[in-house]
Symmetry: C2
Subunit: 217 residues, 2 copies
C-alpha cells in the first residue's frame, strides 16, 4: 500500500475550534482547550501517552490508538511543539511531552527559526525545519521509509497541507462543547478543502468521529 | 413549566451548512441538501411525516419525535415555506407538505409580503407575518396557549432568534457529509451565539445529536 499522510484525533469544538484563546505555557491548549481532549485522556491509549495505565477501551480508544499505528514520522507546527515565540535563543524548551515523547520516531517541527535537532528518549528526535511545511512533509516522507506520515497539528499546519491536497486521511473528533473563540480549523467556509469526502462516522458516548479521505487517495 | 422556544432536528453538514446551494422548486433543500435529511426520513417519525408507515425506531427516531411533542405553534421563514420569491400575487403555493402538513397547529411564516391565512387539513393554518421574526414569535407564543413554540428554520430565522436570545433549546443533528456551499447556520464565528452550552450529546449510526440550551433557560 502506498505511503499515506494522515491526521488523527484532531479534536474540534462543535463550533469548529481546535484550541481555545490565549495559548501560552500555562494554557498550551488555550483557555477551555483541555475540554477538547478529555475524551482522549479517558482512553487506555491516552493514559499510556501520559505514562499511566488504565483508561477505557472501545470506540474512542480504537481511534486514539490508530493515530500511533503505522506512522514512521510526524510533522507538527511550532505552536504544537511549544509556547516559545521568535528565535529559539537559549531556550531549553523540549516539547510538552517530557523526556520521552509518545512519538518514538522523527518529528519535523515547522518553524521560522533554526535550531539543532533534539534527541529525546524512546526514539523521538525533533528536527526543526525552516523551509516551510511542504519541505517538512517531504523530509518526513523520506525518513519514514515507506511507513505513513502523521500530521499532528496545529490547525494552521493541517489547513495548509489540506489546501495543498497533501493529506490523504483526516480524522476529526467533534466534542460537544462550544468555545466561541480560539484557533479554528477553517476560519472561513472557503477554507474547507475541495476533493474530500466523509467515509466514516461513529459516535461514542463522548465525541463524534468523522473520517475524511481525499477522493483520489 | 414555563413556555419554551425550541428548535429540533436542525440538520447541518459537517462543514456547517443547513441547505445546499441553488434552492428552487425542484431542489427545495438545495443541491446536495437531501443528504442532510436522510437520517430523519429513515425513522418511524419521518416516515409518518411523509404519510407512510414503517421506519426505524431508536435514538434518531426519539429525536425526530421530540420535534413534534408539546409544540403548540411554529415559526418558519419564507424559504422554508416555499421557493416563491417576491410578492405572493396569485401564487397557489401551499407549502412543501401537501394538503395535510405535519404541524397540526398554527404556523407563522415570516415574509415581506402580505397574504391571507391558509387553512390546511389536520389543524395547520399558515399565517403570514410581515412585521419580522420577533413579532411572528410573539404571535406564536400567544397562540400556543402555554405549549412550547417550535422554530422550524431556515438558518436565517434561527440565527436571528438565537442572536436575540429568544431560543431556549436548539437540537443540532450533524450529518457526516461535506457540502462546501449553500446556506450556513453560522457564516462567521462571531455569529455563534453567546450564552448557550451543549447539555447533551448522543451519536447514532447516522448522525451526531447535540442539544444546546440557553444558560439561563
Amino acid at each position: 500500500m502506498a505511503q499515506r499522510v494522515r491526521v488523527h484525533n484532531l479534536s474540534l469544538s462543535l463550533d469548529g475550534y481546535t484550541a481555545g484563546p490565549d495559548q501560552d505555557a500555562a494554557n498550551p491548549l488555550g483557555v477551555g482547550g483541555p475540554l477538547l481532549h478529555e475524551w482522549i485522556f479517558a482512553t487506555q491509549t491516552g493514559q499510556a501517552m501520559l505514562g499511566g495505565s488504565g483508561g477505557q477501551t472501545g470506540i474512542d480508544d480504537d481511534f486514539a490508538r490508530q493515530g500511533f499505528e503505522g506512522i514512521g514520522a510526524t510533522v507538527i507546527g511550532r505552536n504544537m511543539f511549544g509556547p516559545v515565540r521568535g528565535p529559539w535563543g537559549n531556550s531549553d524548551w523540549r516539547g510538552w511531552w517530557g523526556e520521552e515523547p509518545p512519538y518514538h520516531h522523527p518529528v519535523f517541527v515547522v518553524t521560522h527559526h533554526t535550531r539543532s535537532p533534539l534527541v529525546m528518549k524512546g526514539g523521538t528526535t525533533f528536527h526543526f525545519v525552516t523551509e516551510g511545511v511542504e519541505v517538512a512533509l517531504q523530509r518526513a516522507l523520506e525518513t519514514a521509509r515507506g511507513a505513513d506520515v502523521g500530521v499532528g497539528g496545529g490547525a494552521s499546519t493541517i489547513r495548509q497541507l489540506l489546501q495543498a491536497g497533501r493529506i490523504d486521511e483526516l480524522h476529526l473528533a467533534v466534542v460537544p462543547v462550544l468555545l466561541r473563540s480560539g484557533e479554528r480549523l477553517f476560519a472561513e467556509p472557503r477554507e474547507v478543502p475541495t476533493g474530500y469526502e466523509c467515509v466514516r462516522f461513529v459516535g461514542s458516548d463522548a465525541v463524534a468521529h468523522y473520517v475524511l479521505q481525499r477522493k483520489d487517495a
